[in-house]
């Protein structure tokens, strides 16, 4: 079986064939339709997945009922509510599919067993955590130093392929402004 998940892992670390086979045997292909909720706020995450095609977003809901987008996860990225797993608590956010999507999914407990039995998996985890850290650091920097227009410019720069695929109001909720403000920003570019 051809697995994009495994190709992705191999792009970061060396994985012996035997370990690749173990992962393959655990993967379940799953389709999730546009609009479907993958993980509901308050639920504990139990899986680690790779997005073969499609697009997801993680979002918080504030007291007024507005939603704020934490991150977009498109094809060829890992779909994982890691904080929920680490803290063994319900997630702060909901994850929904923005497009009809296909993922390769594994129970996290099974993945943990892999980690326990061969170091390559922890190395992989370390790599994606390092990546996540760099991305989060940039986002923190931009919230501290950038105004709305600069954050929008940075979004376009970081996710050139998402512009057009995503309704504007989701982009607004990612950069932390209202759709009206984003619309006005766009008029002057």
């Amino acid at each position: 079986m051809k697995s994009k998940f495994i190709d992705y892992v191999k792009s970061f670390v060396d994985v012996p064939k035997s370990e690749q086979d173990k992962l393959t045997s655990l993967i379940k292909i799953r389709r999730i339709s546009k609009g479907e909720v993958y993980l509901l706020k308050g639920q504990s995450a139990r899986t680690i997945s790779f997005v073969n095609e499609g697009l997801f977003r993680y979002f918080y809901v504030n007291k007024k009922g507005n939603d704020l987008t934490k991150v977009f996860i498109p094809e060829n990225f890992i779909l994982l509510a890691y904080s929920s797993i680490l803290e063994k608590r319900g997630a702060y956010y909901t994850i929904e599919a923005l497009e009809d999507s296909e993922i390769e999914e594994i129970e996290f407990t099974k993945f943990d067993e892999l980690c326990y039995n061969h170091p390559c998996w922890n190395s992989f985890l370390l790599k994606i955590l390092q990546n996540a850290l760099l991305i989060k650091e940039q986002r923190e920097r931009e919230f501290l130093m950038f105004n709305a227009g600069q954050r929008y410019a940075s979004f376009l720069c970081k996710f050139p392929d998402l512009e057009g695929r995503i309704p504007q109001h989701f982009i607004a909720s990612y950069i932390g402004i209202t759709p009206e403000t984003l619309s006005r920003l766009r008029k002057f570019r």
Copy 2:
């Protein structure tokens, strides 16, 4: 030699005595006085340290010359400009001591060799990265959902011991507001 750094590592992962000794042999104790710059923006980081006593802050400088605090690192935490090391580039931020401080310092290249030769060190790295991720996720959530007053309340809650140790304008720069605004927020509590 008694090392708080090693105690800290042992609080996360098992470290064989032989590995402990290797770390000990690499540690250099260093004192840094209040106001001293530990890492200047643009310089590449080369060390990983543990703060025995004292307090540091990481800060960005924007175009107007105002500084924005990324994080405070007090005693018993790791002092490390990891993004600079990972990306092999000059740091985006400056690190300065806010108090006379003592750190246990190691060349990161040496630490890397430890990692290469025994898995406990990578496990440790993984743990502190997981921690960092949780903290950064919370900060992202608060920038998205909280106003200035809520971010200040959260700061007090997360760092109860720092209030009073740190000039207010640094706290303001951490939560992303001006000192004037923080002063006004404080009047009504």
